[in-house]
């Protein structure tokens, strides 16, 4: 009796063993490799990244399709792809500073102060510095200026404003005071950026006594950049 009981137990165990083995064989057959939890996490993040990239690419495709449609409709209305491309080049030129531009905006005139120095005061306090001009240009950009020039020099993204003693060098041209900044944009906002209490220009004017004046105009003319551009270090990335 005991022998039978033992044999039943044994067969039950073997049944369980072969059951799990078959389960494992049939299941694992497809692809079995040791995958740790960390690997799974890595793969998950990789998949997420890929998915995001795919999303970006789809968006890019959409954008390019829109452009294509634009070209197509422009072709129908304007008749020639040259026209479309030319207008695009004009836009690019306007943006990059190779075109004379005109529009409403303001003129800001900055001049050194006429007042006498206080006892022991730094004479630098009465002078317009390169930093002052930079800060005012930035304030105008914040106020929505689309194009800027200083003393007739178009401000490009690479334009330097360098202190050269009592003068300031912009686009390799050196100017003495007064400095005249022209900006095209919404005239009222630009004017406010210069005149608003608490603005940097107002501070220079009222605290240091520098002569800063701004005039609103409906037609500001800003000349194109008159130099040449040479790139030494950059090369465009292929396939962009």
């Amino acid at each position: 009796m005991k022998n039978i009981y033992q044999k039943i137990i044994l067969s039950l165990m073997l049944c369980i063993l072969s059951f799990t083995m078959v389960l494992q064989f049939t299941y694992v057959e497809e692809d079995y490799s040791f995958v740790s939890l960390k690997n799974i996490e890595d793969l998950k993040t990789a998949i997420n990244k890929e998915e995001e990239e795919i999303k970006d690419l789809i968006a890019l495709i959409e954008a390019n399709k829109g452009k294509l449609r634009e070209y197509g409709s422009a072709l129908i209305t304007e008749g020639s792809i040259q026209e479309v491309l030319r207008s695009e080049i004009d836009n690019m030129k306007a943006f990059s500073g190779f075109k004379d531009l005109e529009g409403p905006g303001i003129t800001v005139k900055l001049q050194d102060s006429d007042r006498d120095l206080y006892e022991g005061e730094d004479p630098g306090n009465l002078v317009i510095h390169d930093g002052d001009i930079l800060i005012i240009l930035n304030a105008l950009k914040i106020a929505g200026a689309e194009v800027l020039s200083v003393n007739g020099q178009r401000i490009l993204s690479t334009s330097e404003i360098k202190c050269t003693g009592p003068t300031i060098t912009i686009n390799n041209h050196t100017y003495g005071q007064p400095f005249i900044i022209r900006a095209i944009g919404d005239p009222e906002t630009l004017d406010a950026a210069i005149k608003a209490p608490g603005s940097y220009a107002e501070y220079l004017k009222n605290v240091y006594g520098l002569k800063i004046e701004s005039y609103v105009s409906d037609s500001i003319k800003i000349p194109k950049y008159d130099g040449n551009i040479h790139f030494k270090n950059i090369t465009p990335v292929e396939g962009d």
Binding site: L10, M13, C15, L17, F19, M21, T26, S36, L37, I40
Partner: protein, 117 residues
Amino acid sequence: MLFAIIGLVTGVILGLYLPITYPATYSLYISVAILAAIDSVFGAIRSILEDRFNTEIFVSGFFGNAILAGFLAYIGDRLGVPLYYAAIFAFGVRLFQNFAIIRRYLLDKIKSDKNNI
């Protein structure tokens, strides 16, 4: 012997036809557990040949070893150390030892049978 074969065959049939699945992550743990179970079975065969077979020891070893081996693999995974190697070595070595002993018993038996004839 008959009971053992019946058990194996029913297990295979059940495994083939029961629609049971588990996450692929656990397949390593189950593999190690299967190794432990095979080891127990070989141990049982050996003890039967030695007339020392004890059902309680066999059943507890079967499940205990399998669960411990699977658990070890899981812990190793979590710690980043492949601890399941420990189970593979321990059970693998014992498996071969048991098999060697079983072989000797069987060969002796065959020899003695021949001599009797």
